[in-house]
Symmetry: C2
Subunit: 112 residues, 2 copies
Amino acid sequence: MRRKEPDSCGFAAALQAIGGKWKTSLLWELHLRPYRFAELRRLLPGVSEKVLTQQLRQMEADGLISRRVYDEVPPRVEYSITPLGFSLNDAVTVMSAWGKHHETWKSQREAA
Amino acid sequence: MRRKEPDSCGFAAALQAIGGKWKTSLLWELHLRPYRFAELRRLLPGVSEKVLTQQLRQMEADGLISRRVYDEVPPRVEYSITPLGFSLNDAVTVMSAWGKHHETWKSQREAA
DNA sequence: AGAAGTACGCACCTTGAGGTAAGCTATCGC
DNA sequence: GCGATAGCTTACCTCAAGGTGCGTACTTCT
């Protein structure tokens, strides 16, 4: 999907914030507890390092998560969810519930 | 965004159903009242006929809207929302509310 | 000495949603 | 006959998200 125009509607903005392929998963994992970069890689099998970095940075810019760098060696970076990110997770959960409802509906229709 | 894998999470299914560029707008318009094809074209400036047809067909396949053909000449087709589509519109509204909240948050941050 | 882990950046390529333009069937108005 | 309208279908093109792979600076493990 293309996301460019403001669309006047707030949904476009929400989609802009969560539209990435891995963002919902990241949001879900981080809402449980903070994680380090390499831990997130392991949690999301199939994500490339480039894209993981990208999406984390975008979510940080959107204020959904915060990034904390510890000046140690070897380097350590921890990502954690913000209150705003937590509220988005709630909204996503509503959509997710509808999705499950929809899947039920579909399997019922296919059975008919 | 790519939408392929089931993802175990229902959110992917919901996104699959609503992910198209015009689907939320269509859902919104049709939740007000039924419309004909050409009316929807006029309501969504910029949509091409091909894509409008595509998205309407997909939404019909997902059970979000129903398509009624009147065997007249010139041909007449009316699209209306289903109860399932209506429930999705509610879920979308929650996300939309978050989007507005997020925009407020962003403009506050930029002001700082 | 060499391998491996950490948290990336950069260059290139693939893929599919969406856009563009044309055609198609049939009727009505001029 | 000529164009307009309604509701599509088909073929082709574009463009950005995401994937692949390599490079990096530093350290610890073996």
